[in-house]
């Protein structure tokens, strides 16, 4: 079974530029998550999709971050404009069930973003 795919793996941009990350979850997984992992910290949930609808985006800085999952499969996360404090690894994860009680997540390798 193929795992969660993410691209690019690394990205370096200057502050105030925009950037987009892509995630393709495991086939058939209904739920998709984006996490932000700042160096030295555990991952923090940014947004959760169930199929193509948003379940939770309470931790997403909506003034600069946006995410979509239009067809209920792959997803993009965008930052515009980027700030220095956005430097982090952005992890995508997917979960095979759509019931909130089932909570095993499978993670992709992440995208390491450096904002200069």
């Amino acid at each position: 079974e193929a795992g969660v795919a993410q691209s690019p793996r690394y990205k370096i941009i200057e502050k105030r530029q925009s950037v987009a990350f892509w995630c393709n979850p495991i086939s058939g997984h209904a739920t998709l998550y984006w996490y932000q992992q700042i160096l030295g910290q555990g991952p923090k949930l940014l947004i959760q999709f169930q199929n193509n609808g948003v379940v939770d985006d309470s931790q997403l800085p909506k003034d600069r971050f946006s995410a979509e999952r239009l067809k209920g499969v792959d997803s993009t996360l965008k930052i515009q404009p980027a700030k220095l404090e956005d430097s982090a690894v952005y992890l995508c994860a997917s979960s095979p069930r759509d019931r909130v009680s089932y909570n095993e997540q499978f993670f992709g390798p992440g995208t390491r973003l450096t904002v200069l």
């Binding site: 795992g3 969660v4 739920t31 998550y33 030295g40 910290q41 555990g42 991952p43 923090k44 949930l45 959760q48 379940v55 939770d56 992890l91 994860a93 979960s95 019931r99 909130v100 009680s101 089932y102 909570n103 095993e104 997540q105 499978f106 993670f107 992709g108 390798p109 992440g110």
Partner: protein, 112 residues
């Protein structure tokens, strides 16, 4: 609300000696608990999970963890460390799928 505290930011052991990574949790409801491992430049990999079945949970690569409700702990252990175990380990508490709280992580170093 739930939270998790990993008591050690860094643990160093010698190859062949036991590993103990400590995790305490706080939750208003019966939680699910997980340990994930993250090798450099790799995705998070699930080691084991507790979901209200047996309190002693066995995972991959010889790791196990014991859920102790009275102590609100979920410590990760392995009898004998291997060089390949060197990585970052995260304890996670969850009540629902969209509310997984990660600890800050414990970096495990294994000395030859």
């Amino acid at each position: 609300a739930q939270s998790v505290t990993q008591l050690d930011s860094h643990v160093s052991v010698s190859e062949g000696t036991p590993v103990l990574l400590r995790c305490n949790y706080s939750s208003s409801y019966s939680p699910s608990l997980f340990w994930y491992v993250q090798h450099p430049n790799k995705g998070l990999q699930l080691l084991l999970k507790y979901t209200s079945a047996a309190t002693l949970v066995k995972g991959i690569n010889g790791f196990e963890a014991e859920f102790k409700k009275s102590e609100t702990s979920f410590h990760l252990t392995k009898p004998s460390a291997h060089m390949s175990d060197a990585a970052e380990y995260f304890c996670v508490v969850s009540v629902t799928t969209n509310d997984m709280r990660f600890g800050a992580g414990t970096r495990l170093t294994v000395k030859p």
